[in-house]
């Protein structure tokens, strides 16, 4: 699903150069659920941005679902994000002026899906996250946990094969965090590949596979055999 070979990312300003990722190698197979941990400033967000095609890399090769990302132009990257990747952000990133229905249909509009099909998918996703009756509510009328469930519904609406979650429980209390995590585990069992960046070791332990990034490189990886059985083939690999 995702294959990064010797990925390097250099941020350059007039005063300083920062090597955010160096010789970064990672393979994530279809159906995996991995947690990415690491100290602040280690390169987790840069990895997430590159994996989600939100920013470009300076060197190396990145193949997503067999497509060489480095050869895509901006429009093709946008289309690929829209079609294959779902995002869950730490701050939910819901659009405050749009109600839940409109928020969830945003990626579907960019895909050019017709109104009737959009309605079907949005209603299905809202049902999936347990917010079926609240389509006309605005995000600020919901609790943090509910907002994150809407964000998950938005990520799911496009039926992505690859879900990127950036600290999805970072702004939630422990009960809400567990509910969101359970939802992600259900999605993974249903076949979605998930890469989750987190600071929370307890959450990381719940994923079948955990990698740690230190100084822009994959420093260590561990295969947890948690309570949730991994959906995928255990022959998945991480190349360091």
């Amino acid at each position: 699903m995702l294959n990064m070979q010797n990925i390097g990312k250099l941020y350059q300003t007039e005063m300083v150069q920062t090597q955010a990722l160096r010789e970064f190698n990672l393979t994530v197979n279809e159906g995996e659920f991995i947690a990415v941990t690491g100290p602040s400033g280690s390169g987790k967000t840069t990895f997430l941005n590159i994996a989600g095609l939100l920013e470009s890399y300076s060197s190396g090769q990145y193949m997503l679902d067999g497509i060489d990302v480095g050869k895509l132009n901006d429009n093709q990257r946008s289309d690929l994000r829209n079609q294959k990747i779902g995002f869950i952000f730490q701050g939910f990133n819901l659009i405050p002026d749009l109600n839940l229905f409109e928020n969830i249909e945003v990626p579907l509009r960019y895909r050019g899906i017709k109104a009737k099909e959009r309605k079907r998918r949005v209603e299905h996703c809202l049902e999936q996250v347990g917010l079926a009756g609240r389509a006309r509510h605005l995000p600020q009328q919901l609790s943090g946990g509910q907002q994150q469930r809407v964000a998950i519904a938005r990520a799911l609406a496009g039926e992505p094969r690859f879900l990127l979650a950036d600290e999805p429980t970072g702004n939630l209390d422990s009960l809400m965090a567990r509910q969101v995590m359970t939802l992600l585990e259900e999605l993974n069992r249903a076949g979605t590949t998930i890469v989750m960046v987190t600071h929370d070791p307890e959450l990381a332990r719940r994923t079948p596979r955990n990698i740690q990034i230190v100084d822009g490189q994959v420093a260590d990886f561990t295969l947890y055999q948690g309570t949730q059985a991994p959906h995928v083939n255990p022959q998945m690999s991480v190349e360091v």
Partner: protein
């Protein structure tokens, strides 16, 4: 992809900024379209054909304070001298200078008892029988004056003929009529022997702007107006020669206000010119303020929505989708402003017409102004929308 519905919903949920902009656009449109209407009316007036050879005529006044002088003889000598100058076609004394806002007017009627007949206020200009040619006018019906038509204007010698403007003839005798008809003013009766299609009076911006009659009277006055018709290319040079030449003939007099007829007209219209300048400045000011308002609000909206834009990009929006989002949003706001402004413009136009001497506001001016406002709005939003489109999708994962 149609973004109109969610954009409308967004605007409805956060109305304040959009409403202020709609109000600003509406007020600007209402004022600007009425200002354009007034400017256009004034410009039409200024560029209207007066009938005179404005570029070739020099006008001035001679104040003779020597009471012992034979003014009639002196002016004859003066005119003869003036005609000797290279480039001078004609020179003559006149009772008043057209387009100059100064002169005499009469009430003339088609009936000896003016209370019984039609009446019209008209300027008059008395000059010798060559006056039509001297002014560069063209008699469109009837004939020009002949030497025998001329008199000195005393009661017993008052001329029996006149040449009138088409407007005077129409008002007294009906459209296209008037030639060989008689007109009356006080005890004087004159036959209309010629009609000039276009001939403005001394007060071109007044209600009697088109009403003027020429009377073949040559008389000398202490305060005498003079016109000199020249070849336009030599006029400036001739203008400088007039005062020294006349003072050389007779020193006990003052030559006042030597200027071209076009300059006299410009002075008459200076209030209109000033009004045009002020209104144009107002139009420019309002358009700039509104453009800055749109530019500023869009910039503000983009700054406020940076993370939202990044999120939209992360969710698959192409740069063009973000660009068109702001264009569509702004166009919708501007359209609401244009609709409200058009109604306000027509109402304001009606009020101005009722209160001042202003023509009715033409709806096409409102339409063109509205289209121009839309164009200006698109130009104002172009740069901020480009900036928004270039916001990186990676903003979505940053804490800002």
């Amino acid at each position: 992809m149609s973004e109109i519905k969610p954009i409308l919903n967004t605007l409805m949920r956060s109305k304040a900024g959009a409403l202020l902009l709609i109000l600003q656009i509406a007020v600007t449109l209402a004022i600007v379209s009425n200002a354009i209407s007034i400017v256009s009316d004034r410009v039409d007036k200024l560029s209207e054909d007066t009938g005179y050879d404005e570029q070739g005529i020099i006008a001035f006044t001679v104040l003779t304070y020597n009471r012992n002088i034979d003014r009639a003889k002196q002016f004859k000598e003066d005119m003869a001298k003036l005609k000797e100058i290279d480039g001078v076609i004609e020179a003559m004394t006149v009772s008043s200078i057209p387009l100059s806002s100064s002169g005499g007017s009469w009430i003339i009627s088609d009936n000896p008892d003016e209370m019984q007949g039609k009446r019209v206020d008209s300027g008059y200009i008395q000059a010798n029988h060559r006056v039509v040619n001297a002014f560069g006018l063209k008699v469109s019906e009837g004939r020009d004056f002949e030497p025998q038509d001329e008199s000195d204007g005393t009661d017993s010698q008052f001329p029996s003929v006149a040449i009138v403007s088409r407007a005077v003839a129409n008002k007294l005798f009906g459209e296209g009529k008037g030639l060989n008809e008689f007109i009356y003013s006080g005890d004087n009766m004159m036959k209309i022997v010629g009609i000039v299609e276009t001939m403005k009076s001394q007060w071109p911006d007044s209600k009697m702007g088109d009403n003027v009659m020429l009377i073949p009277i040559e008389r000398s006055r202490m305060y005498q107006r003079v016109i000199v018709k020249t070849e336009p290319s030599k006029r400036a040079k001739i203008m400088k020669l007039i005062e020294p030449l006349l003072l050389e003939n007779e020193r006990q007099r003052v030559i006042i206000d030597v200027k071209g007829l076009d300059e006299a007209k410009a002075q008459t219209y200076q209030r209109d010119t000033l009004m045009i300048r002020m209104l144009v400045a107002l139009i420019v000011f309002l358009v700039i303020i509104t453009a800055l308002g749109i530019f500023g609000l869009t910039h503000f909206n983009i700054s406020k929505r940076t993370k939202q834009i990044g999120t939209r990009r992360a969710l698959g929006a192409r740069k063009s989708a973000i660009f068109s989002y702001f264009l569509v949003e702004n166009t919708l706001v501007t359209l609401f402003g244009v609709i409200a402004g058009s109604i306000a413009a027509l109402y304001l136009g009606g009020q101005l017409m009722a209160s001042y001497n202003i023509p009715a506001l033409d709806w096409s001016i409102v339409l063109y102004t509205g289209v121009a406002m839309l164009g200006m709005s698109l130009m104002s939003v172009y740069q901020p929308a480009k900036r928004a489109a270039n916001i990186s999708p990676s903003i979505a994962t940053r804490s800002i």
